[in-house]
């Protein structure tokens, strides 16, 4: 059997397993399934609100971009990339070290390059797929506010996902060689946790800074409309 045929055979096996796992998750009891679907729809709808709050004001962005916009876009891309990287590192460690079927596969004469190629491709797909799902509300907001040109953002998300998977594999393999598989697993989990925490903290910082500016703006507005005691901005102006 050719290498391509072997790859496709193993890929079919992995797809069958993943499909059945997913199906089992989605089709528990009828009540559970209904609740899961409602929760998914609600989550997707609710995600549009923070998406609008965070990114809505950038929908009509035009070239050439100013320095602040470039900084915000770069930071957002980096944070998203870091989050995907942490997810990918965890997945790569699991695939290379913790999958329960590794003993069976490695004790067989199967070509391990094929096996790991398929699994690495699956990681890249999973990371990118998850990123696409999470980014869809943000892109929706941009498309609604700024036009279909923003659909190209999906291409960027795919590129970020694939590059994160590639870097995760490189980091994990390097760690394997330097500190061995068991330590790699620990380090990878710590790195993933730190990156995840960093992402949340960065979001908080952004929210605080953005919220603070909005609060100052609304205070100014209220003052000018006569709600503030005399002697503030109105008298100053």
């Amino acid at each position: 059997m050719s290498s391509a045929a072997a790859l496709s055979w193993f890929a079919r096996h992995e797809i069958r397993l993943a499909w059945r796992e997913w199906l089992a998750m989605m089709t528990g009891s009828r009540g559970k399934r209904k609740r899961a679907i409602i929760a998914l729809i609600a989550f997707a709808a609710i995600m549009h609100l923070p998406a609008y709050a965070v990114i809505g004001r950038f929908a009509d962005l035009q070239f050439p971009l100013g320095k602040p916009e470039l900084i915000v876009i770069t930071a957002t891309i980096f944070l998203a990339w870091a989050l995907m990287l942490s997810q990918a590192i965890e997945s790569v460690t699991r695939v290379f070290y913790a999958r329960a079927d590794l003993d069976l596969i490695m004790s067989s004469p199967a070509n391990l390059a094929n096996v790991f190629s398929v699994r690495i491709a699956a990681i890249a797909l999973a990371v990118t797929g998850m990123a696409l799902l999470l980014s869809t509300p943000f892109v929706d907001v941009l498309v609604i506010g700024g036009g279909v040109r923003w659909l190209s953002a999906f291409g960027l998300v795919v590129a970020i996902g694939l590059s994160a998977a590639a870097v995760a594999i490189a980091i994990t393999v390097l760690l394997f060689r330097l500190i061995g598989p068991s330590h790699t697993r620990l380090v990878a989990q710590i790195v993933a946790a730190v990156i995840g925490a960093g992402f949340v903290i960065a979001l908080q910082v952004a929210a605080v800074r953005y919220g603070g500016r909005r609060a100052r703006q609304s205070a100014t507005a209220r003052c000018c409309h006569g709600y503030w005691p005399a002697g503030c901005c109105c008298s100053a102006s």
Binding site: F10, D103, S107, A110, N111
Partner: protein, 263 residues
Amino acid sequence: MVRNEQLDRPEIMKADVSALEVRGLTKRFDRPAVDALDLTVRTGEFYALLGPNGAGKTTTLRMVAGLLKPDAGSVSILGIDALAHPVAAKQIMAWVSDEPMIYDKLTPLEYLEFVAGLWGIDPAISSASAHKLLLSLGLEPHLHERCERFSKGMRQKVALAGALVHDPRLIILDEPLTGLDALSARHVKGLLQERVRSGCTVIMTTHILEVAERMADRIGVIAAGRLVAEGTLTELRQQNGRGDSSLEDMFIALVDTNAAAAA
């Protein structure tokens, strides 16, 4: 299905050789797990490898199965240098761990078809032997059920069937009878003995000394990564000057002596 071209190479197999020949096998983690171990298992033999917990049994067998790289030493499987030609060695060998993995979302038949595929066997060919194996292990009523609701014993039987589906010449089993009820254990023992009768070699670790006593042609006792005794039950009795004592008595005496010597 993932067959490698390296597999069918009779030129790297020597005639009339031992099923397993291990020389100076060494593996060190925090301390030596296997310490310059020499071990020979003859072709067509049922060999039981005994030892206390942490003696190095599983580490030895994992190195033989190609799952762990030895620090030093050589492993020869039916004349094939398993370190130089791992793919060819794996082609004629099967490994079942003490906690075998089977896919929850596959039926036993699908699992066996997958395992056969790993060994490059066409599903059309493997299907018949898969059926036969599962029937002989008493799994007939569950052929088309997914394994997710199987008991530990049923899982072990499916894993064992998976190990036999490609008709290996050397079968290595780590504690295959743990967790099996009496009937399942009988099924497994019967199947293994049938394989030995047909010329296959079986190496098995077990803590159930009675099983080793009844089934094994030869028994090896390993302690602190070294083979401390080996032979048939009669030979072991002679070596230890314990006329008609049980294997359990001899095993405990051997392990105690070794522990005292190490201290």
